[in-house]
């Protein structure tokens, strides 16, 4: 087992427990691994850093939304790799670049490299959030963008606290779908 795996897994367990700092560090580190992975993969399809960055954001969002699906009894790397590859295949199919024939790599390749040279990506998440239904928009805006607590967001959006949490969760899922529609280049 690599040290990267051990460290990332520890961050994921803390993140699943609700630790925001660990969650941030986890997404930050994973985004660098994902960037290296997608740049490498997309090069062979004639796509550049912008598309890679699009995919990094898609994968980061997917990892965030689906973090409950990670089973702590298993290593983290294959879980991350599976999501990364799934999003890549989905992207290639949407953009009709190829028959989406992505060969299986060694699972550990996903954490073998990192790349912190973030490029601009092609869509703006803020603009897409503005397309969400009002409740979701307000809840995400208050908590995720403005940094309010759930209680404060509940007041601002005139929702109950559980409704704020549900709106954020559903809103981020809906956001992922909007991004998928947006990225067809």
């Amino acid at each position: 087992m690599t040290t990267t795996e051990t460290e990332l897994k520890a961050l994921m367990l803390a993140s699943q427990g609700g630790d925001a700092a660990s969650h941030r560090m986890l997404l930050d580190r994973l985004s660098r691994h994902l960037r290296a992975y997608y740049k490498g993969k997309l090069a062979s399809f004639g796509k550049g850093a912008t598309e890679a960055e699009d995919l990094v954001q898609e994968a980061v969002l997917a990892i965030h939304v689906h973090r409950h699906s990670y089973d702590p009894a298993e290593p983290l790397t294959p879980w991350v790799y599976a999501i990364a590859r799934y999003k890549l295949i989905d992207f290639l199919r949407r953009s009709k670049t190829s028959r989406a024939d992505v060969p299986l790599d060694e699972v550990n390749d996903i954490i073998a490299h990192d790349d912190h040279f973030a490029a601009e990506n092609s869509y703006d998440v803020r603009r897409l959030i503005a397309k969400l239904p009002k409740k979701m928009q307000c809840a995400i805006g208050a908590v995720k963008l403005d940094g309010l607590s759930v209680a404060e967001a509940a007041q601002r959006c005139r929702l109950s606290e559980p409704a704020v949490k549900v709106s954020i969760h559903r809103g981020l899922k809906a956001l992922a779908d909007l991004i998928a529609k947006e990225v067809k280049a």
Binding site: Q16, L27, Q57, A62, H68, Y70, W79, I83
Partner: protein
């Protein structure tokens, strides 16, 4: 919004996640699938008339054991396949065991029977009803299971779809067994086995569309 900003936004007020939710959701869907299948069988077809006789009970137990073995093994795999990356550590060959056992028993029982009986043993009177009933009863269980499995974000949609279909077909076959009076082993191997495989293929074909997230 660049990636750093996205990461920062997602990391504000992180809620603890419920790690058991996937297991519970799929487990609940499986229970619902069983109840729905039994209900459909009971209302639509009815339990076989000689249900309480010893003769019927023996065959009934054997048929249900066959279906439950399939459901049991297939659902263990389904629980794994449903999560991202589950496919990488799942070698699903064990699921063949109940089918192989049924086929071997069928061949053995045909071997000891005179040729003139073969037709009756394989087709019985109910083959068409069996062929239609198991897939039809499986539809709602399949839909319920798809709904649950989607929540787990599977990444191998063909295989996860296949196992969803397999579990649905197995549950449906177990329920149908309570009605069906086709009791010969070759009949069960061909028509139960065959229709369950049919459900599996349907699941594999529809998986990429139905399970996408």
């Amino acid at each position: 919004m660049n990636t750093d900003e996205l990461v920062a936004a997602l990391s504000r007020h992180v809620e603890p996640v419920d790690r058991g939710v996937i297991r519970r959701t799929i487990g609940l869907a499986l229970a619902a699938a069983i109840v729905v299948s039994l209900g459909l069988m009971g209302l639509w077809l009815g339990v076989r008339a000689d249900f309480m006789t010893a003769h019927a009970a023996a065959f009934l137990v054997a048929k249900i054991a066959f279906a439950i073995a399939i459901v049991g093994i297939a659902s263990i795999y389904l629980f794994r396949l449903a999560r991202p990356g589950g496919e990488s550590r799942t070698v699903s060959l064990w699921v063949m065991a109940p089918f192989a056992a049924a086929i071997l028993l069928a061949i053995a029982s045909l071997g000891v029977a005179p040729h003139s009986h073969w037709n009756k043993m394989i087709l019985d009177d109910e083959w068409l009803e069996c062929l239609l009933s198991i897939p039809i009863i499986a539809i709602v269980p399949f839909a319920v299971l798809v709904w649950a499995v989607r929540k787990a974000a599977p990444t191998d949609l063909v295989r996860t779809g296949a196992f969803t279909g397999l579990v649905a077909g197995g549950v449906s076959a177990a329920a149908y067994a309570l009605h069906c009076t086709g009791d010969s082993v070759p009949f069960v191997a061909v028509w139960y086995g065959g229709t369950i495989v049919l459900c599996t293929v349907a699941g594999a074909l529809s998986g990429p569309r139905l399970l996408r997230w």
